[in-house]
Symmetry: C2
Subunit: 99 residues, 2 copies
């Protein structure tokens, strides 16, 4: 078994209305910030997966992203590995996973 | 001037309660997914900046992240360049800035 940390980036699909992004754009003037456009606001979910190997871990994340984290009608997602795997093979009982 | 696309990843700081993350963890059993832990849910904001160069563009994003996109008391942010710069005005061939 090994432990893998992933991020799932969920963003509104092109053409889908993004009220949060519009709100950010509307606030730029108040801050005196110029030159910023095409703001899209999505979610970023970071999680740790214990699985036999990297590919099994990624399959779990893929399923989670498609079934729970993103709405496939209006959102796209991308999965990103955000840290090296830490092998836990042979770790004595009681050595918990980090939180 | 050149155009740069960035993402700002905003995540709850360690130790800060993350009810959305707990909700995801609570749903894993219903989906029959094992081995997932330490779920943290944050935001991902993607935006385009027109600026003189990459470093000026990044400064704009830095300011925006610190003043509008993240709450510094409870959230951390990381800025990521997500696409090549596209030069737009009068840049001689070969003078593009690195990404």
């Amino acid at each position: 078994m090994s432990t893998h940390r992933f991020a799932v980036n969920v963003t509104p699909k092109p053409g889908i209305l993004d009220p949060q992004g519009r709100a950010v754009e509307g606030s730029l003037g108040h801050l005196g910030i110029d030159g910023v456009s095409a703001v899209r606001v999505g979610r970023r979910v970071e999680l740790t997966v214990d699985a036999a190997d990297e590919s099994a871990a990624r399959a779990v994340v893929e399923r989670l992203a498609g079934e729970l984290l993103a709405n496939p009608l209006i959102e796209a997602y991308a999965i990103e590995s955000i840290s090296g795997a830490s092998s836990t093979v042979g770790v004595p009982a009681g050595a918990g996973n980090p939180v």
